[in-house]
């Protein structure tokens, strides 16, 4: 397994005027489980193809353990690839599928078969060796595809392109567990591409959030969640995503924009101006005391220790916030809002964590 470095990598599809990927920098340590998270069109698949060797960067370099592999083809790089749907040789049995990559590299059949038995036992598919893919379930087929990708023992990188997409929701978690187990036991460097943040945040040790051809932020899942470095990441991560209210900074004090101008923070080292305050729903606390905010609506989420848990929608002029609270609230109630935690954003970037 290798350490993967992307140095200022850009890619423009032939015939396109604008680059799909622009100036990417990323380091993935060896043995890491890394997720590339982004909506469709963000450039994840292009990234994947650059890593696998199916595409070559228009500029910049890709290094595996310090070796520049940018111009090497897929065949020459030592990568394994798992696709969104199981890509198997339909006319060959499971065992034949598994030994195929090794036989082509000169392995002896007995060695190849014993390794296939080893891998398939780990995956729990040792019972279906002689079956043809057509009779297997989608889940089993994807396991075989994963097994195939692990057969070669000299692989530098395992790439997975939304491997859970085709699998039923009820068994997605099983596949995810299997992948995590394998990654840890074999010490694989795995890059996992997905648009599903639950998958990314639960599977990976490190996540890169991508949008519009760049990596917005790379970090541990908890860091991305707690400290997004830009509004897009804040909004994209979390369900629901981060919410934003307008605020102004004057004389190093931040106040919410609105006729009562609640003070939010003092002694800030920021120039005067207009900012966005980002807060997740969990960071907002509501107090039953006169304040600048009004309850506009209330949705019951459940009960907690006999009391109702509600999601409140609050307004202050044009501004809107959602918060969780307990008890009974009425529309029109005047309340005060406390931010346990917030992040100030200037245009797109985060400038302060509070």
């Amino acid at each position: 397994m290798a350490e993967i470095v992307l140095e200022n990598v850009s890619y423009t599809y032939p015939g396109e005027s604008a680059p799909t990927l622009a100036g990417l920098n990323l380091t993935i340590e060896h043995g890491r489980a890394h997720a590339l998270l982004g909506a469709s069109g963000a450039g994840k698949t292009t990234m994947l193809n650059l890593l696998s060797g199916l595409l070559h960067p228009s500029s910049g370099r890709i290094l595996f353990d310090g070796v520049d592999v940018s111009l090497l083809d897929a065949r020459a790089r030592d990568v394994a690839l798992v696709f969104q749907f199981p890509v198997l040789y339909e006319s060959l049995s499971v065992i034949e599928n598994l030994v195929f990559p090794l036989m082509n590299r000169g392995w002896q059949r007995t060695d190849a078969v014993s390794r296939a038995v080893e891998i398939s036992t780990e995956l729990g598919i040792e019972g279906i060796h002689d079956a043809k893919p057509a009779v297997l379930s989608l889940f089993q087929k994807q396991l075989v595809a994963i097994g195939k990708s692990l057969m070669r023992d000299d692989v530098d990188l395992v790439l997975l392109d939304e491997p859970l997409t085709a699998v039923e929701p009820s068994i997605k978690w099983r596949l995810r567990q299997t992948l995590t187990r394998l990654q840890q036991s074999h010490g694989l460097t795995m890059v996992y591409v997905t648009h599903d943040q639950t998958e990314a945040l639960t599977f990976a040790e490190e996540v890169s959030v991508m949008a519009r051809g760049t990596i917005l932020q790379t970090g541990k899942p908890v860091d991305i969640f707690q400290s997004p470095n830009c509004r897009f990441v804040g909004h994209f991560i979390g369900s629901p995503g981060m919410q934003f209210v307008d605020c102004d900074v004057a004389d190093r004090t931040a106040r919410l924009t609105g006729h009562n101008s609640d003070e939010v923070a003092v002694a800030l080292d920021l120039p005067n101006g207009h900012y966005q305050l980002g807060a997740r729903v969990e960071w907002v606390r509501v107090r039953r005391e006169p304040g600048s905010w009004q309850v506009q609506g209330s949705t019951i989420l459940g009960t907690e220790v006999g009391e109702a848990r509600v999601l409140l929608t609050l307004t202050m002029g044009d501004q809107k916030l959602q918060a969780q609270a307990t008890g009974k609230w009425s529309v029109g109630d005047n309340v005060n809002v406390i931010f346990d935690r917030f992040i100030l954003f200037d245009d797109e970037k985060a400038v302060v964590n509070g």
């Binding site: 696998s52 199916l54 065949r75 890509v87 195929f100 990559p101």
Partner: protein, 291 residues
């Protein structure tokens, strides 16, 4: 595809089709079978003769030789056109303007009236005014398909290849196009050779379209009439008289309704039989492979 709605009123939808096909097929076919078991001297005088005509027809040496020629012709053109069509489809780039234009060009021979196909080759292969005939003459071969049976066969086969290979190409190309690029990518990562890619990825996918291709070519070559008729008229002598032409001569020319009808029925059964043999052998083989 879940077709779980059982509804016998659906028959209303197929009623128009049934009416048209009944008029075009069932009624005429019944007539043919009817004639095949009767001796018809004139409109009012007819005798039931059972299978006499069938026996007589099957024993007819001219029928037998037409049948042999027919089977030989069908075998030759199939053995050339199917592999050739596949290879050309493989040679075509998966997409791009060149492929698009080539496919349009390839479709053209399929849409030319069959007699024009015959006429084109009739002129093309002539030793005096045809490009091919004259070219062969330049390199020392006196080409005359009207006099030499071997030349006639060569011209017919060349013409059929020119006419129909494109059908196989288009079908095979369509089949290949349905293979997701992921399969090729996976094969590249597996270190698979070109031959392995063909054997394990492309050929299995082609099986469906190839069945259609072979079935169509088999049926149509067994029924071929116009092109050889225009090109050689069945000659020289009988050397290029195939089944359809023999039947057409008997049915229309000689007013032997009974034997002609019997021959028609036999002909139809032969085509059905060969198609059925091919189809079931492919289906059975596929089922065996899947076990």
């Amino acid at each position: 595809m879940d077709k779980s709605i059982q509804n016998n009123r659906a028959w209303l939808g197929v009623l128009p089709v049934l009416l048209v096909v009944a008029f075009s097929a069932v009624v005429p076919l019944m007539t043919v079978v009817n004639y095949s078991v009767q001796d018809i001297l004139d409109v009012n005088t007819r005798f039931f003769v059972g299978f006499d005509w069938y026996r007589e027809t099957l024993a007819d040496p001219r029928l037998q030789s037409a049948l042999i020629r027919q089977l030989g012709f069908s075998a030759i053109v199939l053995l050339i056109e199917i592999p050739l069509g596949i290879v050309i489809a493989l040679a075509l780039p998966r997409d791009g303007p060149l492929t698009a234009s080539l496919l349009l060009l390839f479709a053209v021979p399929l849409l030319i009236p069959w007699n024009v196909v015959g006429t084109i080759w009739q002129i093309f292969a002539r030793g005096d005014i045809g490009l091919l005939g004259v070219a062969l003459g330049e390199i020392g071969i006196v080409f005359n398909y009207a006099a030499d049976p071997a030349h006639a066969w060569i011209t017919l086969v060349a013409m059929d290849i020119w006419h129909w290979t494109s059908l196989v190409v288009l079908l095979a190309f369509a089949g290949l196009s349905s293979i997701a690029p992921a399969y090729y990518q996976a094969a590249a990562l597996d270190g698979a050779s070109r031959l392995q890619v063909f054997r394990y990825i492309e050929l299995p996918k082609l099986r469906g379209v190839l069945t259609i291709a072979v079935l169509l070519r088999l049926m149509d070559s067994l029924m071929i009439y116009t092109e050889p008729f225009v090109l050689t008229g069945g000659g020289p002598g009988n050397s290029t008289t195939f089944l359809s032409q023999y039947l057409a001569t008997k049915a229309v020319g000689q007013f032997d309704l009974g034997p002609a009808a019997a021959f028609s029925v036999i002909y139809f059964l032969v085509v059905l039989l060969l198609c059925w043999i091919f189809y079931t052998s492919v289906v059975r083989k596929k089922a065996a492979d899947d076990v």
